[in-house]
């Protein structure tokens, strides 16, 4: 199931809300007798609905996720009980198991394919990729490492660990929520009216990003990069990949907004996953703003333990970026994409970052965006022939420079392009600062303005999204396939 699905919005969510409210009543009844039971019914409902949510798309692999959580639950207890060498061994065993699960279901076919290519006669297994496996495996690793480092307490209740891993708001496409971020909130959380209002608003913003912007942009990118690849003009290549650049941002950040919003409505505070990445002034800066939860995961669990910038930094950077690319999928283009950014980040350390103050800001932005867009060109095509065709057209080596289809894609979606470009900027932040400044001491006026803006934006997002979702069939989020 995906968030931008009418069934999710108008069957799953109302049913969940109803059951969750009933569970809250039960919890309140028992809380006077036993404080610890305060969240048990609510957590149980959340877990049950999360399992249904996952099983809706993966009716068989839901058992793989349950098994994975159970193993991590046991390993967590073992790490907690042991000290010294045994503690390290327990962690190592846990990491090996998690990586083995991920390796088997995500990368085995890829590796066997490589071995087959170099002459070894191996049957390439065809294993379907379980949705969200990269996300929940990384969350499991985060749990084990945090417990090992004694940064978070071990989870003694299986159901509560299952809740952390499987919680439907962030289960299949992140953000990668670190155990420490929500450990305390699993059994001690409070939802104020302000939390719920903020969470709902964030959810509708995310829904609009996905349904109104990303889905429409995907039609443009598909038109050029899938259906029109054979007759791609140079302008078509640029328009197609810029449409994809915007699409993937609104698709993924929309999902993160919806996840963070739903989490907030339930009393969880997930960390931000995006900070206007296309406003970056270097590639290093871009990766501090894009998929922050993945970047910080690799920084804290790979880069720094390997030595960070203290020893063999170049190797550490290369490994992190190789893994970043590979995390996205079992395909060479993702690895090349990761290494491409790794090399740029490394080069920037010795060049641009040292003289950044002397370079005009627009030049830095243009430089960064150009490299990001080229990166998406590598990311988009998982077969090299298509990638070559695309880049030939992209660099001007097409039969025609521009054509009617490009003109149509620009003019007939003019306001979509304008909206997409505007919403890449920190528009909300700028507007709210403007209102704050303008209203100054007039608190009531300020509140009224915010209320009217939030309400009208939310209603417009809801109504437009519902209209655009009726009859929609191809509506999956891009990052659910990672």
């Amino acid at each position: 199931m995906v968030f931008s699905d009418l069934f999710f919005l108008f069957v799953f969510i109302p049913a969940f809300a109803l059951c969750y409210l009933l569970a809250a009543v039960i919890d309140r009844k028992f809380s006077s007798q036993d404080e610890a039971r305060c969240f048990r019914a609510k957590n149980m409902v959340l877990v049950m609905f999360s399992l249904v949510f996952y099983a809706w798309g993966e009716p068989v692999y839901v058992f793989l996720m349950l098994a994975s959580v159970f193993i991590n639950y046991l390993v967590g207890l073992m790490i907690n009980k042991s000290e010294g060498r045994n503690r390290r061994w327990a962690l190592a065993a846990g990491l090996v198991i998690n990586i083995a699960i991920l390796g088997t279901f995500k990368y085995l076919g890829f590796f066997c394919g490589i071995l087959a290519d170099v002459g070894l006669t191996l049957a390439v297994p065809k294993i379907a990729l379980p949705i969200g496996i990269s996300f929940y495996t990384f969350q499991s690793i985060s749990y084990l490492v945090d417990v090992y480092r004694k940064e978070s307490p071990v989870q003694h209740r299986f159901v509560d660990l299952l809740l952390y891993i499987s919680m439907f708001p962030q289960l299949i496409a992140g953000p990668i929520v670190r155990y420490g971020t929500v450990a305390d909130e699993i059994n001690d959380r409070h939802v104020s009216a302000s939390d719920f209002a903020e969470g709902s608003y964030r959810f509708f913003i995310g829904l609009g990003k996905k349904v109104i912007l990303a889905n429409q942009l995907s039609e443009i990118s598909d038109q050029f990069l899938v259906n029109g690849l054979g007759t791609l003009s140079t302008s078509g290549a640029w328009i197609g990949i810029i449409a994809f650049t915007l699409q993937i941002y609104f698709d993924f950040s929309g999902y993160s907004d919806m996840a963070i919003g739903m989490g907030r409505c339930l009393g969880f505070h997930f960390n931000e996953n995006f900070r206007h990445p296309y406003c970056c002034d270097s590639i290093t800066d871009f990766w501090r703003r894009w998929h922050i939860s993945l970047g910080s995961f690799f920084r804290d669990y790979v880069y720094i333990p390997m030595g960070g910038n203290r020893r063999h930094q170049a190797v550490n950077i290369f490994v992190v970026w190789f893994l970043t690319g590979m995390w996205h999928g079992a395909s060479w283009n993702f690895i090349i994409w990761g290494v491409y950014f790794g090399l740029i980040v490394m080069l920037e350390k010795y060049t641009i970052l040292r003289i950044k103050d002397k370079i005009p800001s627009p030049v830095l932005h243009l430089y960064s965006l150009a490299l990001v867009v080229i990166g998406w060109g590598i990311f988009y095509f998982d077969d090299f022939h298509s990638m070559q065709t695309f880049f030939n057209a992209f660099w001007g080596n097409a039969k025609v420079a521009t054509d009617f289809v490009s003109e149509s894609a620009l003019l007939d979606n003019f306001w979509l392009w304008v909206a997409a470009l505007l919403f890449c900027l920190p528009l909300r932040h700028v507007l709210s600062e403007f209102v704050e400044r303008s209203c100054n001491e007039r608190r009531v006026l300020k509140q009224s303005l915010f209320f009217a803006a939030h309400l009208s934006v939310s209603l417009v997002m809801l109504i437009c999204s519902v209209a655009l979702l009726v009859g929609a069939t191809n509506n999956a989020f891009i990052y659910t396939r990672f």
């Binding site: 069957v11 306001w415 509140q447």
Partner: protein, 451 residues
């Protein structure tokens, strides 16, 4: 804060209102917009559950059959329309002359067909919509013009060497029935061939080379019917529907006239017909293109009922399953050839015979011992009505629905002329060739369960 509580109240009410409508109101079953039956609740099986298809079909069903679906779709198209810039009169146009295409080199004039053979189709130059604005909508559909003249065109993807199977089918029929039966081959071009603006020509292929290829592959004894030239000459008239993928009855009239000349049968002009008009017609291209501009440009559906000839129509109706396979055949029943739809009805093209899933037999007061069998798709439905003055019997068989043995059918009904009348998309499909050759071999009553 109070404002937070108010916000929550209003938003919750809005979501709940949607939930009540979507979860409790009767679900839509047919989309008039897309002219199709909507998804039904999936059948359960353990295998489907395990594969995930059962749950995904539930989601699709829920999304596809929403209450007020077409209203939401219309709103959705309006939203998409607002995302574009309104076309202006002084918009820059890209002329085909700047694009290396065969068509741009050749377009000179409309000349007549080869006088002896009808085998070489003449060229056509579009001077009606060549400089019009255009845009690409869903499924590569080209939207031409603006306002009440908006026209939606289905891009053609066939090549100049394709469609040979269609010619082969006609050849096989001729070889099977010999001299006793005349066989004619008509390829019906579509609107994109006549109304595609220069700037959009790269989005579609030319149909003329394919048509020429079909006619070049016909055996000497099969007669080609070049309607391309006739339609080209009358392209300024309403020979194609602007909002539907079909041609207009007037286009079928000119095609029937050409056919009558080739078949050497009498033919009457429009003066001998009663002109009927259904106003406010919006056809299938609205649903296909998803472009609100098409809906905002309704047209008149004009058809012609012969007034000076007597005729009676008998139908052998087929029942079909959800996969459009024939599951049963009804007994012959008398019916009307021309149904009358109300103004604004999106199903107006079904005026002729009420659709495709049947064999139609029309017996006329014309007495010339000529009995015609038309093998067709839905484009062909508009043809028979113009041939009641020309043949004493007109039989109509759809290439998708026929369960009898064709040899028996032709013999039993004393057919003297067989006309293949498919649109170029259908003619290009190898399934059409397969179906026509199967008709010759199949035993009677070939239903879905024994194919």
């Amino acid at each position: 804060m109070k404002s937070d509580k108010a916000y929550i109240m209003i938003l919750t009410t809005a979501v709940m209102a949607f939930a009540i409508v979507f979860d409790t109101f009767p679900r839509s079953r047919i989309s008039e917009l897309e002219k199709r039956e909507l998804a039904t609740f999936p059948k359960y099986s353990v295998d489907k559950l395990k594969s995930g298809s059962f749950t995904s079909e539930i989601s699709s069903w829920f999304s596809d059959s929403e209450p007020f679906r077409d209203d939401f779709m219309t709103l959705s198209m309006n939203i998409k329309d607002y995302l574009g810039l309104a076309a202006s009169d002084d918009q820059v146009t890209f002329h085909a002359s700047s694009v290396p295409m065969e068509s741009s080199k050749q377009s000179v004039k409309s000349k007549s067909i080869d006088q002896d053979e009808n085998r070489v189709v003449g060229e056509y130059e579009n001077d009606i919509t060549a400089d019009e604005n255009a845009k690409i909508a869903n499924a590569g559909i080209i939207i031409v013009g603006k306002g009440d003249k908006t026209r939606a065109l289905m891009a053609y993807g066939g090549g100049p060497h394709g469609c040979v199977g269609y010619a082969k089918a006609a050849n096989e029929y001729k070889a099977t029935f010999g001299k006793k039966v005349n066989v004619y081959c008509m390829v019906i071009p579509t609107a994109v061939e006549f109304y595609c603006p220069d700037k959009a020509k790269r989005c579609t292929h030319q149909e003329r080379p394919t048509i020429n290829n079909v006619y070049a592959h016909l055996s000497d004894s099969v007669k080609a019917v070049d309607i391309y030239t006739a339609l080209g000459k009358h392209a300024k008239e309403d020979i194609f529907l602007r909002t539907d993928h079909h041609w207009a009855p007037l286009g079928a009239y000119y095609a029937a006239m050409t056919f009558a000349k080739v078949a050497k049968v009498p033919f009457r002009g429009l003066a001998d017909y009663n002109r009927k008009v259904i106003t406010g017609y919006v056809g299938s291209m609205y649903g296909y293109s998803g472009d609100i501009a098409v809906k905002k440009a309704p047209e008149n559906f004009v058809f012609y009922v012969p007034s000076k000839v007597k005729y009676s129509t008998t139908y052998i109706n087929y029942t079909i399953n959800r996969d459009y396979h024939v599951t049963g055949e009804g007994k012959p029943v008398r019916g009307v050839f021309f149904a009358h739809f109300r103004n604004g009805s999106p199903g107006a093209y079904c005026t002729f015979m009420g659709g495709d899933t049947k064999i139609t037999q029309v017996r006329t007061s014309t007495k010339n011992h000529r009995r015609l069998l038309i093998l067709k798709d839905s484009f062909g439905n508009a043809l028979p009505g113009f041939l009641f003055y020309s043949f004493e019997e007109v039989h109509v068989v759809d290439s998708r629905y026929f369960t009898k043995n064709m040899k028996d059918y032709v013999r039993e009904n004393k057919i003297t002329d067989i006309l293949f009348a498919n649109n170029i998309f259908k003619a290009y499909s190898r399934h059409t060739y397969g179906a026509y050759t199967r008709f010759l071999k199949q035993k009677g009553d070939t239903f879905a369960h024994n194919i």
